[in-house]
């Protein structure tokens, strides 16, 4: 494992004259020139030294150059990057960027959307670039109206869809200051989704090590982070909660995190406190971003939600926040752009606005609204409950009723049985929530189902 204490900065990549699309390839080349053996990507991490696979910046730079040559020969009208190998994916993206070839990152479960990109070439693990399927439609020159990067949304609140981005917006959130260089980043997101691209772009642009655990199992994630000297953990609150509650305590004890960056879901106060207690030297940041908008803001004060005074003011990045009457958060990225309804509901609590859930997750019980997040927060605060999910079950009588699943800590605290844990959970809900918000169905589960984005869906998977 290479973890140079003072990695050479990529002067070329940082220079303002390197256009955004070429910046990733330039960064790889620059590190490879100075330190070709430096590890860029480690996959299958967390299963032991004999299973891990490492790819150096030197290899990555050769792959980028090879793909660029193939792009020049094939002249595809666009490339769909489809690779299970993260290093191959990085090389494809870097090459397409520098060659100004429109690029699509399409996750495995969004393959149906590829029909919209017919005639684009698919580039996979073998790094071959086939000619565009439609003869005669190969590109000559890309005009400025061509999409630069197409990413599929996670489909948290509806079917996944393709969203176009520019290279500028893809790289907008990357932090390039010296302090970010040469760090170990763990990738627990799908590398083809927005959140995943942000992690690996950040890692590679700054000459860092991208560590990809063999699975999202909490033990594997904790061991990968500990064994590979990861200092930055970007994750969903669900994954962090799992690592804290159930990962191998020896591995968790060996983790040396400087930064925990939470995103994809709202982080509750309890989780933020637990993270602070377990990783006292780590700065915990909550990022609010969507595939459509990119990063909107980040909060690092250790409290849930965001300061109430932010509403109606221009934030440092230029975005302006407001709310609809029903509490839905609206974002205007700049004066020239339209206000976008985010589908996220916020509630004012004291000097903060806290996230109460997705509009589409709201449960309607006899006409009254129930926010699943509030139910989950109450359940998670019960001693013996590691995690919880609340959702609506259809009912012919009341429209929906509240149902919930809880994951018990393992082992249960002394004297606690599943029966009295369940009773305690319901009692906590009765004392903290209105009657219609108390779960009417409460089941134990060993693990909450998560979608490919690592988020817990709040609609029933099936009835």
């Amino acid at each position: 494992m290479s973890s140079s204490a003072s990695p050479p900065r990529s002067a070329q990549a940082q220079a303002p004259d390197v256009a955004a699309p070429a910046r990733l390839a330039a960064a790889i080349e620059s590190v490879a020139a100075a330190d070709p053996d430096r590890v860029a990507v480690v996959t299958a991490a967390g299963l032991g030294a004999d299973r891990r696979r490492a790819v150096s910046y030197g290899t990555l730079a050769s792959d980028v150059a090879a793909i660029e040559r193939r792009l020049a020969e094939a002249h595809p009208i666009g490339v769909i990057a489809r690779s299970g190998e993260i290093a191959a994916l990085v090389a494809i993206v870097a090459a397409c960027g520098r060659q100004r070839v429109p690029l699509a990152l399409v996750a495995e479960d969004s393959r149906d959307l590829v029909g919209e990109l017919r005639d684009w070439s698919v580039c996979g693990d073998d790094l071959a670039v086939p000619s565009s399927p439609a003869q005669g439609r190969s590109r000559r020159e890309y005009d400025s109206s061509s999409p630069q990067v197409v990413v599929a949304t996670s489909g948290t609140s509806g079917p996944p869809k393709l969203v176009e981005h520019s290279w500028d917006s893809l790289l907008a959130a990357a932090r390039l200051a010296e302090q970010w260089h040469g760090r170990g980043w763990i990738l627990v997101y799908d590398a083809t989704r927005w959140a995943g691209t942000q992690v690996w772009l950040q890692a590679i642009l700054t000459g860092g090590r991208l560590i990809v655990p063999a699975s999202r199992d909490p033990d594997c994630v904790a061991r990968a982070a500990a064994d590979e000297d990861v200092s930055i953990l970007p994750a969903t609150p669900t994954l962090l909660r799992r690592v804290i509650a159930s990962a191998d305590s020896d591995a968790v004890g060996r983790m040396r995190l400087d930064r925990i960056t939470l995103g994809g879901e709202a982080a509750d106060g309890q989780l933020l406190e637990q993270a602070r207690a377990l990783f006292p030297t780590a700065r915990v940041t909550h990022v609010y971003a969507t595939t459509e908008l990119g990063e909107v803001f980040r909060v690092s004060d250790g409290l849930p939600g965001f300061p109430a005074e932010w509403l109606g003011r221009a934030l440092p990045g230029g975005a302006k926040l407001s709310t609809r009457r029903d509490g839905e958060l609206l974002v205007q990225l700049s004066r020239d752009t339209a206000e976008v309804a985010t589908g996220d509901l916020v509630e004012r609590r004291g000097e903060r606005y806290e996230f109460s859930g997705r509009r589409s997750d709201t449960i309607f019980v006899g006409g009254a609204k129930v926010f699943p997040r509030r139910v989950e927060d109450v359940l998670r605060a019960v001693p013996g409950v590691a995690d919880a999910r609340a959702y609506g079950l259809p009912s012919a009588i009341t429209g929906e009723i509240v149902a919930a699943q809880i994951v018990a800590v393992d082992p249960l605290p002394e004297g606690v049985t599943p029966e009295n844990l369940r009773a305690a959970a319901l009692a906590a809900c009765r004392s903290a929530l209105e009657a219609h918000s108390v779960p009417r169905v409460l089941d134990f589960t060993r693990k909450l189902f998560t979608n490919p984005s690592g988020k817990v869906p709040r609609r029933p998977v099936s009835r």
Partner: protein, 96 residues
Amino acid sequence: MTSIDGATRDIAAEVREAILAVYRDTARPPRETPGSALLGSDLGLDSLDLAQIIVLLERSLGVDPFRDARGSAPRPPIRTFDHLVALYVATLAARP
């Protein structure tokens, strides 16, 4: 007849068990459930309680008469414990 009576007895036991589960989950003392007991005034069950009972019975008996009967002929009002049992007996008997 014996088998139908037996089935009715089993279904009545399931309905009773579901009602007791609702009392338990809502921290209310259990009540006797004679067949003529009115679901509302005698057993103290409100619409949320009934919605929970229907979910519990769907898990144990495999049917939801309220959902499965959507669009079919209107059924008589369900006011007593026996009405509820009869509804499940009829729904299960009509199941292909």
